[in-house]
Symmetry: C2
Subunit: 461 residues, 2 copies
């Protein structure tokens, strides 16, 4: 396409030759993200080094009518950063600086490409905590976390990405640099555009700088692995904990198979032999004494299998438990490289009935599933494994599997996604969660930012 | 105006005669809110009883091109609920039900007219806490709190209204009923319209139902009043506390005059005699022992005047301290019924220089001011008192006073309002905080919801 050729020339002249990739010079990593069974080849890849570069890149692309797909570290699982129908990938990977850690104000200002894990490490060196902890935190970028409204296990106590963003700098498709919020925790001045951008999956604007709120790092914590002889009992324990007025940092739910897959596909061996379902619970507190009190209250509130409680007091055991939890998704990939990963969210107290309904629905279709995830905040991961099923048959089944799961979630007063977003793979199901009028309003908001629909087209709305 | 007459008939037929007021039947309380020196007479007052009523009211008003001013309890201080240029006030006061307290999910679902104080009381009866606590909490409504993105003293530790809203039902100007969010704490499904509506001052839609997140009520707390021999030392203490990794529930700042006015205009007498500035600090903790530890750490981190520390351990003393704090605004009203109330927000660590600059600026104009407020989150209340100044002279000075204060706040990397909003009295100053392009984007978002500009016209954007 000749407009790509002309745009390429101008982009290369403006951003520098090494900041614009086209054709064969595009590395294959830009063909996909971590979404199973999805890829797309971009026409261009842009690698800006500054907000000014982003502004120029967007201005030029919009002049040439070139779609732009913003991309962080490419760890998303709903295809948000995949060029499903061509266009230019705008990778923020070079804009990965931690600009400032402000101890007095307990804030950190970063570029969108900074790794979430690096941000946590930097904060901890000041005795501060950036709580959100997506499973991919070592690799994922903070900009991607904002785009997808990412969560993580610690959301039970500490909330998700949106609860830690004080301000953003962003660039609209015409290249205009704007700001919303700043280094202050309260704000009642104008529309909260920062809040609207979080979770908008790069369809409204490109975030180029983020000011995060940090909190004092908790001084004492412990992890508990508790096993239950039925899925229902484990699910019930989740709301029993919160009904007892306890707020653990995490309540992670793992089905029997999840632990079994990890044991089969990795060197990680969990010293719990029986149980149909497990909860991995983390508690923290300001003093050791308070922590002990809380732990005792917790164990009274739930009723795990006798003898099947592991209290991890040292770092080695804790690391083992969490490597098992974080090892579930990689283990599933080894079991069945093609799989479906859903992350519905429901009211916490509805987890027992939701999990049962979903299991019944999928078993009825003869499918193998693993259920795990962030039970403490109602965010349930449902992974459906293809195994040896014929690929065409699998592809044909997917829409009805997804629709069925989402309908159960919505009937349970929940919704489609708790933390992975909509992206390209769930867009066709938005009408299950929203009315026609609600979707039309979202499209009008999209048009208020991006009238020609050039930013991440085909995603979300 | 005849279209009002026709609309009146249809509205009265649809909502019921007693739900539509016009002309002399309009109670004078609908002429103003708590904004000093501002009033306006609405053409109509609508008093819906249900979401369906709201939908019908908006549909009919939009058909007749009648502007609609949504109104909660009328406790706002920036004129957001005042009919400054006619139109219909849509009062949500009859929709004040607490629909459900869900113990298992730790949520409460309410109508917008429910009083914030009633919500807190209801939550506490379950051992749960709804943390946001605007000074007017006895009277103000939760819908108004959402509209204005209200804060309160406890924001230091617990955040503001926006941090406790899980979902909303809202009605757009054409009468369409929509929802965003629900009874779940994580959500990555579609644009976060609930977050956008919070702080939008009734300019985008009318919120008709709210699902709030509750937290376990803290078991132990104490209040400390500490006095300092200079404003600067008190202001410095604010960031010294957070730099010591302490997170009090509140850090309230009160200038000498604030306490003096309260003593002069009310029966409340604070047993602290000297000091140029005072901090009212609340701490909470899970155990009494932890509370004691924290209190000691806190007193070490700040350096109050020797002997001038009051630790309130019993309810009577605590009530005394807080009645003094909450008595400041009423005392100012008695000192000078006409006054200017600003609530800028700046980075916490910039409070010392901000307060000094503002004082110098206002003293330079020969004005009497009282500075107090939520220092722990950078939200500084600056009240300027007219006293005996000639009214016309005062009115002429106001724009330059406001502009001067806002410019200092913005230069200090803060912004115009932390919790009171923009409303009608600050709208002309939005260009100080936002670029033309940013304001244009806000107007396009407004148009995406309300193409004819009928919802709360003349407010915010």
């Amino acid at each position: 396409m000749s407009h790509y050729a002309s745009a390429y020339r101008i982009l290369a002249d403006t951003l520098g030759e090494d900041s614009v990739l086209a054709g064969l010079s595009i590395d294959s990593r830009f063909h996909s993200d971590k979404t199973s069974d999805l890829s797309g080849i971009p026409d261009l890849v842009l690698l800006p080094r500054s907000t000014h570069d982003v502004s120029e890149a967007l201005r030029i692309c919009s002049q040439y009518g070139i779609p732009v797909i913003p991309r962080g570290a490419g760890t998303g699982v709903t295809g948000g950063a995949v060029a499903v129908s061509g266009g230019a990938i705008l990778s923020l990977e070079r804009m990965n600086a931690i600009i400032e850690t402000d101890e007095k104000n307990c804030t950190m200002t970063v570029q969108p490409g900074a790794a979430t894990g690096a941000i946590q490490k930097e904060a901890l060196s000041f005795g501060l905590l950036y709580p959100p902890d997506p499973a991919s935190l070592k690799d994922c970028s903070i900009g991607g976390n904002l785009a997808e409204s990412s969560g993580g296990p610690r959301a039970v106590k500490y909330g998700t990405t949106k609860d830690y963003v004080l301000g953003v700098e962003f660039v609209t498709i015409d290249g205009t640099i704007m700001r919303s919020g700043g280094k202050y925790v309260k704000n009642a001045t104008g529309y909260n555009l920062a809040a609207l951008l979080i979770g908008s999956e790069g369809t409204l604007a490109v975030i180029t700088e983020i000011t995060l709120r940090l909190i004092p790092a908790p001084e004492h914590s412990c992890d508990i692995l508790a096993s239950f002889d039925s899925l229902e009992k484990a699910a019930d324990a989740v709301w029993l904990i919160t009904a007892a007025r306890l707020v653990p940092v995490t309540i992670e739910f793992m089905e029997e198979d999840a632990i079994r897959f990890v044991a089969r596909n990795s060197p990680i061996q969990i010293p719990l032999s029986s149980g149909k379902a497990h909860l991995l619970i983390q508690l923290d507190a300001g003093t050791q004494r308070e922590l002990t009190t809380r732990r005792k209250e917790l164990l009274r509130s739930i009723k795990p299998l006798k003898g099947e409680v592991l209290i991890a007091k040292n770092e080695k055991t804790r690391a083992l438990l969490w490597s098992a939890r974080r090892g579930i998704r990689p283990a599933i990939e080894k079991e069945s490289p093609v799989f479906l990963a859903e992350d519905c969210v429901v009211p916490r107290a509805s987890i027992p009935s939701f999990v049962k309904e979903v299991k019944d629905f999928l078993n009825g279709k003869g499918l193998r599933t693993v259920i795990f995830g962030h039970a403490g905040d109602g965010n349930v991961h449902i992974d459906v494994l293809k195994y040896e099923m014929n690929y065409e048959e699998w592809k044909q089944m997917i829409p009805s599997i997804k629709k069925g799961i989402y309908e159960i979630a919505i009937r349970s007063k929940g919704t489609i996604s708790g933390e992975h977003g909509i992206g390209s793979v769930r867009r066709d199901y938005m009408h299950l969660a929203f009315s026609e009028e609600e979707l039309a309003l979202m499209k009008r908001i999209k048009a208020a930012f991006d009238p020609d629909g050039l930013l991440n087209p085909g995603k979300m709305v």
